[in-house]
């Protein structure tokens, strides 16, 4: 191998990147060729000086190190997400607080189960949008909501025909439909109003009957078909119960 070929190999030679065969060839040549040997020494010395120059300590490294370490500090993340956290807390307070403060003051009062409310909330825009329940599902819902005794509370001579969950007055109700040979009535059950009633209130097909701790209202079929007409009445009745 000639000097010009060897010199092309000096760069990988000083970097220890030559294969064994080439490295041996270069080393053998260097032993007998002072010019190439000098070339290699210059190369090595230059590398050493470049390395030394390049690795001269930089100023401000400690500050940057502290800054970067702070990026991984939990407190940094807390501070970084503090605004989002506060917003989330406010939102949670507004949502949960609305639920809490709109609940009845009666300590015995209890909302429907979370599952029922969640199901209802998917249909909040349509008060009567949920499907009728088959007898088994209805029984399951009533049992889940602690209302298993209600099917027996229909008017005398009426039988329970079906049930569904609904949202007629901005609150969750279970609608129980009773029928006899000629009439159909709905019993709307809510656990939201718990004031016991002393008697039965009847007005335009709208009834509120005493059921111990739970208030219900009974609506005739015709009234139900025009529920908007009785809505105000129902709300007045409910307000009367809760004030």
């Amino acid at each position: 191998m000639e000097c010009k070929d060897i010199r092309k190999l000096l760069s990988p030679f000083v970097d220890d990147e030559l294969g064994a065969h080439d490295a041996f060839t270069v080393a053998e040549h260097l032993e007998v060729c002072p010019p190439c040997q000098r070339e290699m020494e210059i190369l090595r010395r230059f590398d050493e000086r470049l390395k030394a120059a390049g690795r001269t300590p930089l100023e401000g490294v400690e500050e940057l190190r502290s800054h970067i370490l702070a990026l991984f500090s939990p407190w940094t993340w807390i501070r970084r997400w503090r605004g989002v956290g506060v917003a989330a807390a406010v939102l949670l307070f507004l949502v949960a607080g609305r639920q809490l403060f709109s609940a009845p003051s009666d300590p015995e009062a209890a909302a429907f189960s979370d599952a029922l409310v969640a199901e209802m909330q998917q249909n909040m825009t349509q008060p009567f949008s949920l499907a009728w329940l088959d007898p088994q599902s209805m029984h399951d819902v009533l049992r889940q909501e602690g209302l298993v005794d209600l099917p027996n509370l229909g008017p005398a001579g009426f039988h329970l025909e079906g049930a569904r969950i609904c949202y007629p007055l901005g609150h969750v109700f279970i609608q129980l439909v009773y029928r006899n040979r000629s009439e159909e009535v709905s019993l709307f059950v809510s656990r939201r109003w718990t004031r016991p009633l002393s008697g039965t209130s009847k007005q335009d097909g709208f009834s509120i009957v005493p059921l111990g701790l739970r208030a219900v209202f009974l609506v005739g079929k015709e009234s139900l078909e025009n529920f908007a007409d009785v809505r105000q009445l129902a709300e007045e009745e409910i307000n009367a119960l809760t004030t």
Binding site: S11, E17, I42, R45, F46, R49, A53, G54, L64, F72
Partner: protein
């Protein structure tokens, strides 16, 4: 999942090397610091998948070079071509009859005159001590390209540092590589 303590222990010691490379490649201290910070954030995000037996340093450098490349892409410029003399470049590159003369700034200024692709290879291999294979992987180029660029970079530097004095203007990249 690996811990923050583990990350700090393995990754933070390479900060200074990353910074000096970023400075050399980007040519701007502020951009270099931003790039290093972004490198650590990216590394931290993927640290859970990092295997302890792999080369943490090479991994960080690869992230850094990608960050610098991406940052330059946003400006539609090649960051490697953007290098300016961080240390005040001398008006005239001194003569060096052999490789033993010249101060730190002279040498770094000469390095900055190299074309970006040659400068990055030279820096990664000589200053940072990466192997040809690691350098090739970091820069996404073949090993043969690393070897040839390194050879040419060294030859060019030597030519500059031992040639008769010329003005800085004459040593612009167009006059060199």
């Amino acid at each position: 999942m690996r811990s923050r303590v583990s990350f700090e222990k393995e990754a933070i010691p390479h900060l200074e090397a990353l910074l000096r490379t970023a400075v050399r490649v980007s040519g701007d201290r502020a951009r270099a610091e931003d790039a290093v910070q972004e490198t650590y954030l990216r590394a931290w995000r993927s640290f859970r998948t990092y295997q302890p037996e792999t080369n943490c340093r090479a991994w960080l450098f690869r992230i850094l070079l990608n960050v610098l490349k991406k940052a330059a892409g946003k400006k539609r410029r090649d960051p490697l071509a953007e290098a300016e003399d961080v240390e005040a470049s001398p008006k005239v590159i001194p003569l060096f009859p052999d490789a033993d003369r010249g101060n730190r700034q002279d040498i770094l200024a000469a390095v900055n005159h190299l074309g970006p692709e040659f400068r990055s290879v030279l820096w990664l291999v000589v200053v940072e001590g990466f192997s040809y294979k690691e350098t090739a992987q970091m820069l996404d180029i073949p090993m043969g390209t690393v070897m040839s660029r390194l050879y040419r970079a060294r030859r060019e530097l030597r030519r500059w540092l031992t040639a008769p004095a010329v003005t800085d203007k004459e040593r612009t990249p167009g006059h060199g590589m």
